[in-house]
């Protein structure tokens, strides 16, 4: 088969990426023209890698041009595979090795305070993302990717899931809207994804369709770890159906709201005060809580306004949200700090956890605080508050001393 295809990015602001232009020919052997910013250190390495991939697809004759701005190997492989498979019809995948440190699964009720969105087709933003310690990293296949780039992005997202260290962040992918998003799954599910974000969700049927496909693929690829779901409500209809959606699957762990699309759907504009979205936010919080899942707020888009972000998070926490998306790593500490429990919450949690420990020590089946009985979920939440407070150094490791002294 012969033909021409390109993949990847080039331009003055592009880094850690490459642009490949491939022409498969009938004769002439393999010709590789490389223009690389790291020619001296990695030129040979890059040429070798290209030959390996071409050989894998049994390509004997081609003209390959690579403009490289310091792409890591898995990026180069994704670009080249995308170009090849745009010409040759094949299911063969050239997979980079899955990093051992990426093989973890996540708990249903883990923290999801901050989820860092990364445009799926921009490798330079992904390389250090995990170092900023967001609770989750989202590789985005949806709105941040131009329609013409959707195809090649899938290869890059797949390779990123395998070869990039997530440093313990929950491994998330935002697929395209169902049903189109179903096509993304082959590139995502077999690569230890922890959670899928389902954009523009407005009907539980979308979840149903998705779950069916996930079930089939789990079976096909012998996937045993849970793949959590987080629908994003982004329309008036979605808001109305929020509870039905939230309660439509046991794999749904949280429900997020996307306010840019929602306000557009309402025919209004997003303001800092947020009066226009108050109803929707409350509805999502209420529906999520009713379904026993985490309500997650929309992103705050002014990345230079940290004070505005802090105020936004405090407001969000007060409304009942557990976390929000972020679009810049510097937002992460501000989000964590402001969703963190305040002094009165910590004091209350201390009393509850202390009462729980005493009850355990005394072998009591019931936890009581004064004359009030404490339910297990309340204890669990209090324990989590203490954990966060410890992690943020808001309390000391020996915080129980004050109670012991009182005894």
């Amino acid at each position: 088969m012969t033909g021409k295809a390109t993949a990847g990015n080039t331009g003055s602001s592009v880094r850690s990426d490459c642009f490949v232009s491939l022409e498969i020919t009938k004769t002439g052997g393999i010709e590789i023209n490389l223009d690389s910013k790291v020619e001296v250190l990695y030129g040979e390495n890059i040429r070798q890698e290209c030959r390996k991939v071409l050989d894998f697809y049994d390509i004997k004759h081609c003209l390959l041009e690579v403009i490289d701005t310091g792409a890591l190997n898995f990026v180069l492989q994704a670009r080249l595979e995308a170009a090849i498979r745009a010409i040759i019809t094949t299911d063969k995948e050239y997979l980079p090795e899955m990093l051992a440190q990426n093989l973890y699964s996540t708990e249903k009720d883990r923290y999801r305070r901050s989820r860092l969105y990364l445009p799926g087709n921009t490798p330079k933003l992904a390389i250090n993302a995990g170092l900023h310690q967001p609770d989750g990293i989202i590789l985005d296949l949806e709105d941040s990717v131009a329609p013409a780039k959707k195809y090649e992005t899938r290869f890059l997202v797949r390779n990123t899931l395998r070869a990039l260290d997530f440093y313990g962040a929950e491994r998330m992918v935002r697929i395209n809207q169902i049903p189109k998003g179903l096509e993304d799954l082959e590139f995502v599910l077999p690569h230890n994804v922890n959670l899928l974000l389902i954009p523009k969700c407005e009907d539980p049927e979308q979840i149903e369709v998705l779950e069916e496909v996930i079930g089939e693929m789990k079976h096909k690829y012998h996937i045993e770890h849970p793949i959590w779901l987080m629908p994003i409500i982004e329309s008036a209809l979605g808001v109305i159906k929020a509870y039905e959606i939230a309660s439509s699957s046991p794999y749904i762990v949280g429900m997020a709201i996307g306010l840019e699309d929602y306000t557009a759907d309402l025919g209004t504009q997003r303001t800092l005060a947020g009066n226009e979205t108050f109803f929707a936010r409350c509805q999502v919080v209420n529906a999520a809580r009713a379904a026993g899942i985490q309500p997650i707020d929309s992103v705050f888009s002014d990345v230079s306004d940290m004070e505005g972000l802090a105020a936004n998070v405090q407001n969000s926490k007060q409304l009942g949200f557990d976390g929000m998306g972020c679009i810049h790593p510097r937002q992460i500490p501000v989000i964590h700090e402001n969703y963190a429990p305040d002094v009165s919450e910590i004091e209350k949690a201390k009393k509850i956890v202390n009462a729980f420990i005493i009850a355990e020590e005394q072998g009591l089946g019931v936890v009581a605080l004064g004359s009030k009985m404490i339910d297990p979920p309340v204890v669990k939440r209090a324990q989590r508050t203490i954990d966060i407070a410890l992690k943020l150094k808001k309390i000391d490791a020996n915080w129980r001393d004050e109670f012991l002294k009182e005894d």
Partner: protein, 519 residues
Amino acid sequence: MAAELVKNFVGRTVPAEVNGKKQVPYLGNGKYRPEGHRYGPPLVCAEDYPADGNKVVPNLKEALQAAGLKDGMVISTHHHLRNGDLVANEVFKIASEMKIKDLVWFPSASFPCHAEIIKYLDDGTIHHIEGSMNGPLGKYCSMGKMRGTAILRSHGGRYQAVEDGEVIIDIAVLAAPEADAFGNANGLHGPSACGGLGFGLADSQYAHKSIIVTDNLVPFPCIPMQLHGNYIDYVVVVDKIGIPEMIVSGTTQITKSPDRLLIAELTAKFIEAAGLIYDEFSFQAGAGGTSLSIGIYIHEILKRKGWRARWSIGGTTKYSTQMLEEGQLEYMLDGQTFDHNAVESMDKNDNHYAISVFHTYDYHSKGFYLSMMDVVVLGATEVDVNFNGNVITHSDGLLLHGIGGWQNCLFAKCTILPIPLFRNRMPVILDQVTTLVGPGSMVDVIVTERGIAINPLRKDLIDKTRHSGLPIKTIEQLKAEAEAICGKPAKPELEDDIVAIIKWVDGTVIDSVRKVKTK
């Protein structure tokens, strides 16, 4: 070209002779002790200078002619006008028009605006450069196009070379944002204000002839006298000595890069955890993106603890100025002034004090400030597993930066290098640096976004930070981590030809730079 090569104290091969002059290989600190006296310029007599103090000549060409410009002379300039300098290019344009050949340019630093100098290297006006080489000039030199061998020195090493008589300046051409007709000058006022003029001090004191070039002549006396007219032969008034917006930036901005901010934050945490910061401590942090944000974190720590730094050396900006004004810094000693706020502060605040490289860095003086300093934060293009540092070449062998005060700063009590583990796939920690600019025994800590490596020689720092919760790793671990991500880099192939040598602070040769192979 085939000069005899010798191996120096740090195992680098360096030439025994450069540009026809014998060289001493680096022997280790304190081992090379030249004897004799400081160099002195020829005696002069005030009778030969105008009694009315008016040393103004009509233009730069006449001043150069009067100074006796001829083939083979050493011409010096300072770099306080940074990338906005219009004077250095003009000097060599005139020399070229006068068909003068084989000059040596001895700048305290060069900038991209000096790319025009390449023309005068090509036409034979300039034989070689002794000074930092930035951007296009570095590339030109790396390709082996310069006739002579470049000599790179630190800021302190430049003063040392002049006072030792290793470099004899025939004519110093000193740009001055404010000057009087007698030749007193400062950098504080006028359209081309740049702050201090400390880099021109050695030149004014030791050059055989000194020319002040100003675009802002004021009646005697020009106060303050950062440069003294008693050393000056001629004063030239021109329309413009520099492009103001390229001299000082209107607004210095801290980095927005989340990765650099992460490194800055880690550095500040390390400084605190290791007990390096305390009430009355001293520090130097530059004006680069990462350094600037480290300064801001240091400011925050001092505020939180209710402490004050006694003194700092800058690279001053609006951020260090703020620290001075808000009371977290008592004295700011200023070698270079980077933005408008800092220029204004130097003019108005007595505790913001202009100094020169003689005071801070000069190794052949009776002590220098840097050895008293608690913490200094520096950059690097590369380091190696033995903590040796490189600031002048990139991993592909190209010469692209000057040394600045980098070598001199290594004498501080603790030197910290905050650097990314890799830049756009190029690993920063190598088995061996491409060019050894500073010996590893003097580099204490390397902070990257993926962990902190402490020099094994600093057991005290290792002990202090053992339980800090900071990601302390060995330098080998960090190197392995970078290679796992980027792949193992090939070594650049370089030619045998030496295009530049690197001087250590005492005038000995610590390394040489080889010509880059061209395809």
